[in-house]
């Protein structure tokens, strides 16, 4: 249910492969050196981001703010601390659960999926 709502919300706000205007293009002090543009998937939908930036930043730039759900009450979860301390942003990345996506660097072809529950470590073995 939580996933359905999240998916519905996302489809309403984002079209695939488009980076939204949440990227800062001009700034009075900072200059942002962008990496190579790479494609990745979020729950099967193709998105784009910059190689080496945190997965959470790439998702946020695509308008994705709901990264997961709390294991018990299934409340939506986004990032909170952005430096790997709080574990609010745990997702499944290339089949590996409990990845802190505020620290995980984006790579070409990455499969990012919403994690349900606490994650299964040895699902494919």
């Amino acid at each position: 249910m939580g996933g359905f709502i999240a998916g519905y919300f996302l489809l309403g706000r984002v079209s695939a492969s488009v980076m939204t205007d949440s990227r800062i293009t001009s700034h009075p002090i900072l200059e942002f050196k962008e990496g190579r543009r790479v494609r990745f998937t979020f729950d099967g939908r193709e998105l784009e981001g910059y190689e080496g930036e945190p997965v959470a930043a790439a998702l946020h730039a695509c308008g994705v703010r709901v990264l997961g759900e709390s294991p018990k009450l299934r409340r939506p979860r986004g990032f909170f601390c952005a430096i790997g301390n709080c574990s609010s942003c745990l997702m499944t990345v290339d089949g590996r659960p409990n990845v802190r996506v505020c620290r995980e660097k984006l790579r070409e072809g990455m499969r990012v999926t919403t994690q349900r529950g606490k994650g299964v470590l040895l699902a494919n073995d």
């Binding site: 919300f9 800062i24 700034h27 002090i29 986004g78 990032f79 909170f80 601390c81 709080c86």
Partner: protein, 360 residues
């Protein structure tokens, strides 16, 4: 050295200058700690880079130890265990390694405080540090319209940085009857038209999947909310700048004597004038030693680094001079009415230290 923020970098430089071999470990992929997102110019004295931006200070400090034969820098590495025999467990690339240094300077910094209100867990309620990281390090706006909670220096500075990034800051709310941060920061955002509402707090955040709005209300002289004073803001982000608390997990593991000192942000280690804790050979510095600011963290790091190296028998001609200068700078930084809280917290900590026989 655990933590490559302002305190850890300065501790590394100081100990290296004394001739000690230093391993500097940090969980992030670049040195600098939270300096890497501070785009504003620092105050204070020239010794602490007054007039320079935090992002530049991080680079300048790091350059002083890069490619130094005495310094090994381990990035993307997290110290996850402090064992009884003094060994440190370090996680890097999903593997655990161990290191048993003769001295440890712990400068792990702080984590952000939460505030209790309905829906405070919705995506869009972000810590001020997270907002800074997202926009100043990665160039992504956290949202379109932000309600800032907290008018301390962090809340005021991040509000201004949000405006620089093209984000609308609808208001800054502050529970205290006065602004906590420096007037110069407050006036800057007020001039730009952002109201700072003192004696106000968040009543609730609204939304089902993400933040869609927030309601604030006034507080009376006893911090009780006044019904009927509610105001609604249509925002997609609520930024919490309601204080920091020391990241003290490793100190608890190490068995340091701790004390709860609210003026210093929570639980801090008892320590002496050299920033050595109740566990011999373990020093603290920066926000971990008590929440202050980057300028004081740099000086504390210098004191801890010099003292740690000195206790190992290393020496330098200017060691005593540097220590005395650092102590004087720290005292100067802590003068003034805005620092009253920190001063009383440190007084209490030192008194507890004397009672425990840690402080002479």
């Amino acid at each position: 050295m655990i933590g490559a923020g302002p305190a850890g970098l300065c501790a590394t430089i100081a100990a290296r200058d004394m001739g000690a071999h230093v391993t500097l470990v940090d969980s992030q992929d670049r040195p600098g700690g939270q300096l890497v997102k501070q785009t504003h110019k620092f105050f204070g004295s020239r010794g602490q880079f007054a007039g320079k931006r935090g992002i530049d200070i991080a680079r300048l400090l790091a350059e002083r130890i890069e490619n130094d034969p005495l310094v090994e820098i381990m990035l993307d590495a997290t110290v996850v265990g402090f064992y009884d025999d003094g060994a440190l467990g370090i996680e890097k690339n999903d593997a655990l390694t161990f290191l048993k240094p003769e001295r440890v300077v712990c400068a792990t910094g702080a984590s952000e405080r939460m505030l209790a209100f309905p829906n405070n867990d919705l995506p869009g309620v972000y810590g001020a540090g997270a907002v800074q990281t997202l926009m100043n390090v990665y160039g992504v706006r956290p949202g379109k319209a932000v309600l800032m909670v907290g008018a301390g220096n962090i809340g005021l500075i991040v509000s201004y940085q949000l405006m620089q990034a093209g984000v609308d800051v609808v208001a800054v709310v502050e529970a205290m009857p006065q602004v906590g941060g420096y007037d110069v920061h407050a006036r800057k955002i007020q001039r730009a038209g952002v109201p700072i509402l003192t004696s106000h707090t968040v009543k609730a955040v609204h939304g089902t999947q993400v933040v869609e709005g927030a309601t604030i209300w006034s507080l009376d002289g006893s911090f009780r909310p006044i019904p009927g004073t509610e105001r609604y803001f249509e925002v997609d982000t609520v930024c919490l700048a309601v204080g920091l608390t020391p990241l003290s997990d490793l100190l608890w593991q190490a068995g340091c004597k701790m004390a709860y000192v609210p003026e210093l942000g929570g639980h801090v280690a008892l320590r002496n004038e050299d920033y050595e804790t109740s566990r011999p050979g373990l020093f603290v510095a920066g926000d971990l030693a008590g929440i202050e600011e980057a300028s004081s963290a740099m000086i504390e790091g210098t004191i801890a680094g010099l003292s740690a190296a000195w206790s190992l028998g290393y020496s330098a001609a200017d060691c005593e001079l540097r220590l005395a200068a650092a102590r004087a700078q720290l005292e100067a930084l802590r003068r003034g009415p805005k620092r009253e809280k920190v001063r009383s917290g440190i007084d209490e900590l030192m008194q507890l230290g004397r009672e425990a026989g840690i402080v002479a």
